[in-house]
Amino acid sequence: MTRAIRRRLLVPVLAVLAVTAGDSVGAQQRGGVLRVAVPTTPTGYVITQAGGLADVIIEKLFQNALTRYDEKTLQPIPNLATEWRAEDSARIWTFKLRAGVKWHDGKPFTAEDVKFTFDTIFNKDVRARMRGNMGPLERVEIVDPTTVRFTFKEPFAPFPVMVGYNAGIIPRHLLAGQDPNNPAEFLKKPIGTGPFRFKEAVAGSHVVLEANPDYWEGRPALDQVVLKVVPDVNAQIAQLKSGDLDLALIQPKNIAALEGDPNVAVTTARQVNYFYVALTNKDEIFADVRVRQALNYAVDKAAMIRAVLRGHGEVATGPISPVLGWAYTKDVRQYPYDVGRAKALLDEAGWRHGPEGVRQKGGKKLAVTLTTSKGVLDGEQLATVIQQYLQAVGVEAKINLVEFAHLWTGLFKGEFQASVEYLITPPDPDLFGALSCNAPLNRFSYCNPKVDVLLTQGRATPDLKARAAVYAQAQKELAEVPSGIYLYYPLEVRAMNRKFRGFPEMPLRDAFQHSAKFWLAR
């Protein structure tokens, strides 16, 4: 099994090497400053700050994680680790580290740094949000100066993906002994092993990073990357047009403003992001799977993509995104827009027509409250559209707008019956934490023994083909017995300077793992 993994790893590695070589032969030009829009000031300390776009980007520019993602498949490929293997059904993972890598201050990178990073993430006094991504890690051991072994309480096949997800390795020699939540000294000039070094930061305005001449992959093509804090998307558009920005994430509704601009190109890419309506499965209305199925038929997902995303999205068939080509399957029960079937299923579930067009059962109205937040992109608009679709099949729907933070905490506390939301996840199909019975992150109170077995199996199957087969079955079951209303997978829309090259067609956050290859044409 372990040999199989190593062999499969070789293919993407070679592919990356080939692409890099192709770009650098003659074509790639050195120099230039790339200016990237970020909504907030990046801090440069990944342990407590992982999550926000600014910190996600800066982490990849000046730090390296153990793995990063292949441009085409999004599967983990070598970064600070050169190879890894699983033992004991993925309960033990051993990582071989790259030799000869240096921190920006010239000190050597070692296994001590890796152990220190994971010990910090798992320190209960440290507010490390990514802890939840790292599975049931039990201990980290240094086998030799370039080998680290991770032992888990339960099998954890997604680990190589998770260590590449906003988990840059931090330097032990500078951080040991400092307050792990607020290493004030370190933050004055944070360092990493990454392609760019920290040069200058002005709070609220910008951060300048410069090429690391000693980078282990070779000196990056760009001289500098500047992260410019521009919180307003309209201001970002204006700065793109005026030539003050080279790259920004925009929304489909902004595309028109950039159309025909001679200097700005708009591209799209698939991303690990899906929009859905979380239905509380233990709610007396939604406990009946026929109601959940009916609501999936009742909303016209394709129309929502056309109206809300200007067509830049795909109909969601379940919680696993098609960007994970190896794991995603479309071969599941589909829910085309079908008012007739929605009504028939509701009839079957005993919800009969009542006064004012609202169905009822045993004197109780079929009434649903859709909670969402302005913090959910287009959330309010989506809720309004869904409200109308539901009313059309005899479901009374109310909209409840709450603060973004409230949306995430309220559902767990059972405060909301249904909520319109989205999830950006690491590029792995693991749904154990999100959908297995009683899992801590199960937002749906979903409990399906068949799914539980599959999700447990998926975590214990490091072999990619076998794992894909497990998740294909899980997706089938999750479509047959849906947890909520799956809406769509939006495409990511990026606006960039037409002279900007070498930017992979992968999600922007992950594309920065390949920033050493970015370049600007003269």
């Binding site: 700050q49 004030a184 521009v230 307003d232 309209n234 201001a235 603060e403």
Partner: protein
């Protein structure tokens, strides 16, 4: 005077108690604890390390104790000290709002006088219309239109930021970056001050001492500027005094549109993140400034208006 100071401290304390209770009681909680990838157990651990598991009054007293020792705490969302964060952003805000206020005053006083002495002529109507426009135009719209015209189309001025990053960041460069946002910040104050100035002058022009001045046969400019304007400016002190706290509170929307690294944006971020220490720090700063500006306004009257005396 001592009574006034004691009152001021009481006001500050009340504001801090009310703000503290409201932000802690609002549904939701700090954004760092409300993340779809953070489990409830983990959120509870994080809340403990932030001291949020203690009773509210204990938390408040701890915060107050720190404030009395000159510490505003550590921001939840950035883990940096609140004093540092405010210190980093305050200069940018003072520059922007200061320029905006000066611009507003410099333009409003002559426009107000002109409007008053040419009352009910086309000049007055024009100034009044422009003032009404200034009072009602949405700041974000005005800002974006100016960016589109002057930065995107004409390319005369930069589209945002405080200086050219990595460029010649001298005084000239900073001034070109300041022009548009300072104008946008000034517009509301300018419109307001023009209207106040106009009515103040009109009021003063009907005073006895102005009639006496006319009767003495003084030249027009002498009556307008020496007798009328000097006295009409007195009530303006109150208006400007009320605007002063805004200087430090920042112009959140303008700062957002022009990517200006000021306090206003910091406050917005703090509110979105539900960063309790940062919200408290900024609230305390702004309320202290309101109180101080009121005191200053009163003192200015004592100094400038012989009819007012300190008790």
């Amino acid at each position: 005077m001592l009574v006034r100071l004691a009152q001021a401290l009481l006001v500050l304390m009340l504001v801090s108690v009310i703000t503290f209770v409201i932000i802690h009681r609002a549904p939701g909680g700090p954004a760092i604890l409300a993340d779809p990838m953070v489990t409830r157990d983990q959120a509870r651990e994080m809340a403990r390390t932030l001291g949020l598991d203690r009773p509210l009054h204990v938390q408040y007293l701890a915060w107050m104790g720190n404030v009395l020792r000159g510490r505003l705490g550590i921001s939840f969302s950035t883990n940096q000290s609140v004093t540092t964060l405010i210190g980093q952003r305050l200069p940018a805000t003072l520059v922007l709002s200061g320029a905006g206020l000066v611009l507003a005053l410099v333009l409003a006083v002559p426009l107000g006088v002109l409007s008053a002495v040419r009352r009910n002529t086309w000049v007055d109507h024009l100034v009044s219309s422009v003032a009404m426009f200034g009072l009602s135009v949405p700041v974000f719209w005005l800002g974006l239109v100016l960016i589109l015209v002057f930065a995107v189309q004409l390319r005369w001025l930069p589209a945002g930021g405080m200086l050219t990053i990595g460029g010649p960041s001298g005084v000239g460069d900073r001034l070109t970056h300041l022009v548009l946002p300072a104008f946008v910040v000034s517009v509301f104050g300018l419109a307001q001050l023009t209207r106040y100035m106009r009515s103040s002058i009109i009021g003063v022009l009907s005073e006895d001492y102005v009639r006496t001045a006319w009767a003495k046969g003084l030249p027009r400019w002498r009556v307008w500027y020496r007798h009328a304007l000097a006295n009409a400016l007195l009530p303006m002190i109150t208006v400007v005094g009320l605007m002063l706290p805004q200087l430090a509170a920042g112009a959140a929307i303008t700062e957002t549109v022009f990517a200006w690294p000021g306090i206003g944006r910091l406050a917005i971020e703090a509110a979105f993140q539900r960063d309790y220490p940062l919200i408290m720090g900024i609230t305390l700063l702004v309320s202290a400034l309101v109180v101080a500006a009121n005191l200053l306004t009163d003192l200015a009257y004592v100094y400038l208006d012989p009819r007012v005396r300190l008790r």
